[in-house]
């Protein structure tokens, strides 16, 4: 499934590359970019499940690379809207799974490397970048702390309290595709790129939002 996706994105990447190349002011810079691409294509090889088609950029990756994660606002908004439209919301309208399964998934940092087996289920990698529960002291700080998620993320910037359903949808959308809301954010697109299943994302939503989960309880 992922391979198919990359086949599709490689076409859009070439398109994106051409557009941006035309915009490039400096000719020597364009030559250098071409050299970079040649080297990248030449000096990686398939290993395990990590095939070289992973190097083909989709439109988001190409845009964020091109502008060092600060793209012009128009391009950004256009692509974000495209990404948001592609979010597949749960058909049953339910966002919450089991927070205990979510915590286990959040702890697991494995998945999708060349040393992972093809049938291995990728982890959520959440603690790699976020603080979640108070009792896990080994957490990363690449992303914001999600401790007391209900309390800290339950209001709009205008100060209005979100309903539980709204907050759940907010969390689901961000885990599914954070780039729909902030194009060049560091966070992987767990749903969009098929890393996690719908059920797994629901479990993570529950971890963030269930009042009984260690994220909110302590």
């Amino acid at each position: 499934m992922l391979r198919k996706f990359f086949h599709f994105v490689s076409i859009s990447a070439i398109f994106a590359f051409l557009v941006f190349s035309a915009q490039a002011a400096d000719n020597s810079d364009t030559l250098l970019e071409a050299k970079v691409m040649t080297i990248i294509k030449h000096d990686f090889h398939d290993k395990g499940i990590a095939k070289i088609d992973r190097l083909n950029q989709d439109s988001v990756q190409a845009m964020c690379t091109k502008f060092l994660d600060n793209p012009p606002i128009d391009n950004m908004e256009h692509l974000q809207a495209e990404q948001e439209k592609a979010i597949r919301w749960p058909a049953d309208g339910k966002y919450m799974g089991n927070w205990k399964a979510g915590e286990e998934l959040a702890q697991s940092g494995s998945g999708m490397t060349w040393s992972d087996k093809p049938d291995a289920i990728p982890g959520g990698n959440c603690y790699n970048c976020h603080q979640l529960s108070a009792k896990e002291i080994s957490y990363g700080t690449i992303g914001p702390s999600l401790l007391h998620f209900r309390l800290n993320f339950g209001k709009t910037s205008g100060g209005q309290t979100l309903t539980d359903k709204e907050l759940q949808r907010f969390a689901y959308g961000h885990i599914y595709n954070a780039k729909a809301y902030n194009l060049c954010v560091n966070m992987p697109r767990f749903g969009h790129l098929g890393i996690l299943t719908e059920a797994q994302i629901k479990d993570l939503v529950a971890l963030l939002i269930d009042p009984e989960s260690p994220v909110n309880k302590e």
Binding site: D43, D46, K47, T65, M112, N128, C129, G140
Partner: protein, 270 residues
């Protein structure tokens, strides 16, 4: 209490240290720093340096030539301080080479070992220690205390640096990661591990001078090429070719950013 006889003065002294340590509110990162300090003595990489030095001086390969004939950039036979100037442009190959690509070159041209053989399994594992890795340990150890001095005067060095800089920000793969995703911001960490920002002088220096290193979690000495290789693995990329232009360009970008630091490897890492 059945009190043992105490060496009183010393005891009071130690006890006061003990109390101050307990009372101090220290955060997790400070504790990790303390841990690193506590394991910094007694680095098993010394054994790899010793093995590397012995091998370096021993005639080997089909040609029965020792690596003492290898020119690491400071002239034939000069190992001292060589690593602090790598990667660099070599006129004899007309390209920029890092230590490991240069070692491959010497092993193939001087010793007559086929390149395929060397790069097939360049990293150690259970009961396996490739010679090239031991050479690395020896050579980098010979630059301990030497100031990093990577030049960009040759156009090919300059170009390699610029290419490395761009590879560093290339986002791709199932996680959308670039090197810079984790290594382009100050003061962030993955789990408990601090992530050096390679756009920042201090971080670049501290990181670069402590690699290659003995990895205690693996019980193995690890080369710089291994470090890059494992980064790409965790970036969810396919595998970079050992000692390829890609890795050399990245290496010169990182090494140059660490210039003027005193090289301190081989390091000792978690």
């Amino acid at each position: 209490m059945n009190a043992p006889i105490l060496k009183n003065g010393f005891f009071v002294f130690l006890f006061s240290i003990y109390c101050s340590v307990v009372l101090a509110e220290s955060n997790a990162s400070d504790e990790i720093a303390k841990y690193r300090e506590m394991i910094s003595d007694g680095n098993p990489a010394e054994f790899d340096e010793m093995r590397g030095e012995d091998l370096w001086k021993k005639p080997s390969g089909p040609n029965k030539v020792s690596m003492q004939k290898c020119d690491l950039g400071k002239g034939i036979g000069i190992v001292k301080g060589a690593y602090a100037e790598l990667p660099k442009y070599f006129p004899d190959t007309d390209r920029v080479q890092d230590l490991e690509s240069r070692l491959v070159f010497c092993m193939t041209t001087l010793q007559g070992i086929p390149e395929k053989e060397i790069i097939a399994k360049p990293f150690g594992g259970d009961n396996y220690k490739p010679d090239i890795e031991s050479y690395v340990a020896y050579v980098v150890g010979q630059s301990k205390g030497v100031k990093m001095n990577v030049s960009l005067t040759h156009p090919k060095e300059k170009e390699a640096y610029e290419i490395g800089k761009r590879i560093f920000t290339y986002r791709a793969g199932p996680y959308d990661f670039a090197c810079s995703t984790c290594h382009g911001q100050d003061n962030i960490r993955i789990r408990m591990q601090n992530l050096p920002n390679f756009n920042n002088l201090k971080d670049s220096q501290a990181a670069y001078i402590s690699w290659p290193a003995y990895r205690v979690s693996q019980g193995l000495f690890r080369s710089f090429q291994w470090r890059l290789n494992d980064c790409f693995r965790q970036q969810r990329f396919p595998e970079p070719q050992y000692a390829s232009e890609l890795t050399i360009d990245l290496a010169i970008f990182m090494a140059r950013n660490a210039n003027n630091a005193i090289y301190a490897g081989p390091g000792l890492k978690r």
